[in-house]
């Protein structure tokens, strides 16, 4: 499961970052921030060829020593980043994909909330719940 899940606005500022509490939060911030370069690269590469028929799921952005970083970009250029422990080999691409889809659905729900002003950080219990469900429950396992 994921160790860090982030939602980043079109303008590349974080809308939501949650990481496994036991780990170094700053590190994940840096990792997610750096991954935006790759996301941008991928978007610009794909954007030319396919136009609107873009696959939202970007796949593995880059592997670091300890983590794998996956990316997903909505049509409104909101980016989702999921960081997964590299040691976790059981995760398939399809599972990551479905995680992103779930995240996207939940994000859409948040955006549909008339009391949410777009551009603000996400503060939603439902979204929190979805994210928590995707994250490793380290507190219980460790």
């Amino acid at each position: 499961m994921a160790v860090c899940i982030a939602v980043i606005a079109k303008e590349n500022y974080p809308l939501y970052i949650r990481s496994v509490p036991t780990q170094n939060e700053l590190k994940f911030h840096y990792t997610v921030h750096t991954s935006l370069d790759v996301v941008e690269e991928k978007i610009s590469a794909v954007g030319k060829s396919l136009g609107d028929q873009r696959e939202l799921y970007l796949g593995l952005l880059y592997p670091t020593e300890d983590y794998k970083v996956y990316g997903y970009v909505t049509n409104s250029k909101v980016k989702f980043v999921i960081v997964v422990d590299s040691s976790n080999t059981s995760l398939r691409d399809n599972e990551i994909r479905s995680m992103f889809r779930k995240l996207h659905n939940s994000f859409t729900d948040v955006m549909c909330n008339p009391f949410h002003s777009p551009g603000n950080t996400i503060q939603s219990k439902a979204f929190d719940g979805i994210v928590s469900g995707m994250m490793v429950q380290t507190a219980s396992t460790v």
């Binding site: 170094n24 840096y30 370069d37």
Partner: protein, 1459 residues
Amino acid sequence: MAQCVQSVQEFVQDSFVPMVAVLCSEEAERVTRKNNLNFAELLRPFCRLTSEGHIRDPNNQVQVVKNLRICVNNVVTSPNTAFSPAQRRVLNEVVLSCQPQEGTATNVITAGDCDLNFSATTPWFEAYRENFLQSMPASEHEFLNHYLACLLVVSSTETVPVEQFLKLSQEQHRIQHSGDYTNPKWFIPNTLKYYVLLHDMSEGGEQRADSVYEDMKQRYGHQGCYLLKMNSRTFSAEEDEQIPDPWSQYLHRNNLQSQEVLDDAAVNSAAVENNISAAEGDSHPSTEKGEASNSLESHPLQLDTASSSGSLHTLSAVNPELKKGARDPESLAGGAGSHGASLTLNDHDHIRQFIQEFTFRGLLPHIEKNIRQLNDQLVSRKGLSRSLFTATKKWFGGGKVPEKGISEPKSTCGLLYPPEAPELQIRKMADLCFLVQHYELAYSCYHTAKKDFLSDQAMLYAAGALEMAAVSAFLQAGAPRPYPAHYMDTAIQTYRDVCKNMVLAERCALLSAEILKSQVKYSDAATLLIKMTSEDSDLRSALLLEQAAHCFINMRNPMVRKFAFHMILAGHRFSKAGQRRHALRCYCQAMQVYKERGWSLAEDHINFTIGRQSFTLSHPENAVTAFRQILTNDSRQTATQQGAFLREYLYVYKSVVLGNEDRLPQLPLPCIHSSATRVYFGHERRLAEGEKQAATHVSLDQEYDQDLAAMWCHLEEQLVAAANRGIVPATFQPTQCCLNSQTDNLRFPLAVAEEPIIVEVTFRNPLKVPLALSNLSLLWRFTAEGATPSEEKTTEESAGEAVTNEEALTEGTTPKDDVVTTEIILEFLMGPEETKLARLRLLPHSTGQLNIVGVVYNLAAASSGEPTPSSEGQQALEVMVVRGRQDLKIQGPRLNQTKEDKMLVRHGQDRRLDPIITPPMPLMEVFFLQFPTALLCGEIRKAYVEFCNVSGGALCGLRVASTHPDFFTFGSQTTTPLTPVSPTSAENCSAYKTTATTRQPGSVASETLVSAKDFSQLSGVMEIPIEGGTLQPGESTQLPLWLRGPDQEGVHEINFLFYYESTTKGIKISHRVLRHTVFICASRSLSVQASACRSSVPPHHSVDEKGSGGTLVFVDVENINTSEAGVREFHIIQVSSSSRHWCLHKCINPANDKDCKLTSRERAKLCFRATRCKPHQATSAAVEKYTFADLNLGNERIISSSTPCGDFFFRGCRPPQPQRVDGTSSRTSSTNKSPASDISNIVRKCNELDLNIIVIWKAYVVEDNKQLILEGQLHVALQTIGKEASSLTPKEEAQEMALLKFKAEVPAPVALLSAELSQLIKTNLHYPETYTHPFVQESLCVVPVTLTLSNCSSAPVDVLIDLRHKSSSPESLEVHSSFTWVGQTQYKLQLKPLEVLCLTLRACFLQAGVYNLNTPRVFAKLAEQGAMCETSQQAASPALIIINSARVQPQGDVLGLLD
């Protein structure tokens, strides 16, 4: 990778140069030392050859050698195989000394949304690389940095130079061949020896030198020796000539760097360093990366001690180039800049010539010869021995090769070939070819060697060959084959993983990265560089990471974030390596990417690091700025983290403050919401004093309300207008006591001397830790009267005379109180994330211009509830108190008037904090006594108001304006009853003035005539009738005040605005005002409904009475009070009327002998007759006189014409009347402009009643087991006859169910008009009720009928009476056919105003029966109008007459009244 000064080819070529050793005799050493240099150093600037050399390859092809550089070094015999810590330190120094200059050209790259500003070149990296490559130890597997030749240098002053040459030659031979020294390494067994005779020109003996040289030529051949003449400059000429110093760029750096090291050491070892790390000890930020955080603290310190202890000695000891020189420190210090002092330009040329001679005559032929030799060897072997060699290997060791690889992994890198092994010969030849730039041949040789090494599993050798093969492939000019990047990767991997030789791997990576960069493969280069980072060398990791970062930014799509991230990593490694400046620079560059983009956690981390690095580098200002960023940003950090940040900030801040004491610096905490600042002028109000209730006025506790402000302003305008004879002066500005962001702050506010100014500042603590502020006070600047207080320029001009309390507050002494007293808040604690208001007070004492600049306070981290770990920490906390200021800068509202304003963002002025202090003004306070909070509707209550002058000046012109002028009255001067003035004695007195009367049944109303002028005041403004009109200082006066409960139930907000002026004129403040707001809860009492109708009493009856016609007035009174418990019953004690024309005459109630009692929900009806009063007076000039008629139902008569009844009557009833007339007239004039408007006026006038009924009641109320009697009065204005009027406004019911109208209503003015006109004439028929007629005797019966016409209007009316039947329906025809009018059937008459006319008609009946006589049709029109306005008068009810047929004698006439 950053841009480099050198091109790639140059760089790679220079990385591998022919090495030449130097052996000097002592005498020669002495000669060269005159120039502060040793021989190798002396040659160094001239080692690059400017001309081309030539060499023939084994195939006799001429190869051009361009731009060749040779490297001349002293022979160092110490073992120098490994990359020693000393060398590392040297590299460290090199990097440390090479810092980016201030103001060097920087690159600006715009990538995405970032504008990056960074230096494109990284000279420290190049310096590092150069030094690194030069200090590469010679290794077994390659020959590139083995010595090719040896220079033997002997001075001509030697007694027997030749002997010296011999000695040196033997020495060289010994070093190379004895086997005692593994170092230095020699390329070829028979090293080229080149004999140099050094001649010192200053010492003369040139002939001898020449002769020795001749001798040498004989001995060594003229290609193997050289006579170098130098030192031809005498010291006397030293001052005159300016000789360029080519050595400085090679040697001077070392001195500089040692200087820098000293500086840094001093900085680093400062006591503060220890302190700060101690302070952070307990709560080290978790943002640091894991284990690295510890080494960040410990490592730099270790390094500092090392570098500071061994400053120069260590340097010279570790530097291999300097070692042999063995220069003493003082010579270096003394002549740091004077290299080559004894050399002239000619000498420089000599040296250059010498190098060229040596290279072209000695070195290159030597290399050429050796290549040839090696080639021959290899060629001769190729056919036989190579195959034989491989064959033997196959035979003997073929099966063993893989096994060896597994069982003896050590041998894979440790495999050593003997020096004469053929594989090494190939390698040697390749190296030689490479050195003389014959890259094609070199590549093929490397390639061959690589194969051999690989097949032998000699991994180190193979990696070396691979590396060089790749390099030479790259350097081949024609490039017949693509650059084999994978060779490099393999080589690096082998070096690193198999051979564990990081130094070689690093060299390889540096080369590879540079080559990749030149091929625009930045991504590959970055990967390569990042791979090379490791834990063993922080410096290398830092530099490589930085280069990787540069690679990312140089990519075609610049990867800004990767750049930033790697910059941070590099910065981290730099700081671990003790390179604080570089670390700081890296973090600063990374900051550009993270700044203000929402990545607060990262931003905080960077800021924190920057702050700390800046502090240790003694840039405390920058440190403060960085720390300030952390604290002011909305941070996601935890509370403990923030606490740590805060403490660190305070510490750094304090050290900054200690540096400059003259001016208080700005503090970032807590945040001041400056636009929310409120300024209040005047004393804080006492709310009550005993039972006195003070006027509420304005206070800081109130919220600003736009509507309220407008209301107060309107009231004040009215007051000012009243004070200035109805004209509001153009300069009028509403008084503003409390200024905030919504008030108009364009003008300088006026404050009064000796009255406090209270500034309310909104502080917000953005942190999750509490803050403790102390000694909080305002900072101000004061300019005394005389300086014109207008614009900024004047404040600057008069800055000299301006007084400020800044210095006093800075020093912490008691501030100056002579001009302005400043109040200090000693303690001001703020909780976590709390917003708190501080009210700061100033008391100005003299006039002038005051500017409130800001606030000054001590800031400290408040000790929170958490237990502090140690008492030591506690102490540290207490020390962390810093004093600073924050300016209050209030931006005015954004302008939006002109086009420019709209296009740009402009802000107006805000003068809230710049009050002008004016001379003292009178100050009044108002108190209320017995002021009720709840009243019944219409209830009259008496209260008292007290005016106090609390200032030192007299005041006058007291006025009051109110939003509800009908709510209160001070009583009129003329009619004020003699009521007790003091409130205590009037406890149970009625508010009314009464006279006792014995009441007879059917009594007639007593009438009083009162002029309205006695009561009338201006609508909203009342002058307050105080004695003498002025209030002396300290004086106070009490006045009675009558209140009347509002007519509508509910809570009413009633605002009073008291106005007063100073008796002395010509002060800036023309007047002052005092506000008061009360809330009155009105509950329902009675509802009075009244209607009037014309009495139909025939005129002759009414003529007896007064007036032309009586009107009946019906008054319905209902108790609608809902609180059954409180109010027992209402008694109606009096009904009065007030009108200009009418008055109540008498009560015609059937039950008029009792006064009217109404319990809950009871209803009573009272009937009165009203008469027109004294017509002569009504028509006279005194129209404004009102007749008050009192009809008392009880035993005492209340004089309604006096205060308060009359006052409230005039206040309550008068205003609606003119308003209504205005309304209708405007309506009619708009609908029909014809003369009809005239008619309607006249008609209306005819129907106008304008009678006001005042119902005075008493209510018996039980409250707290006491019975109270409340009194009150209700007013009903009867405007027209027939219309019902009510004391309650019937609005509510009407509005409830109003239909929505989508089409505009078509007005029906004509119908309305005719309806009104129909009332013009009143008709009465007088006839006998029963008439007996002997039809037997006479068949026709004629009955006289009198028609009385009375004109109600005050205009002449034409009347047309038509008696003819104009039956419209058949049945009416049937009915009327039985009788007919006889005689004249049509009359045309004119009736004068109010005339009554009788007309005798005759009706003729044919038979007995009942008849309706009401058939005459009366048309009326106003005399002047045309026929069009003629209208039929009302179709009245039937007037029945009974005609009997008489058999007996007819009886007398009976008059009946039927209507």
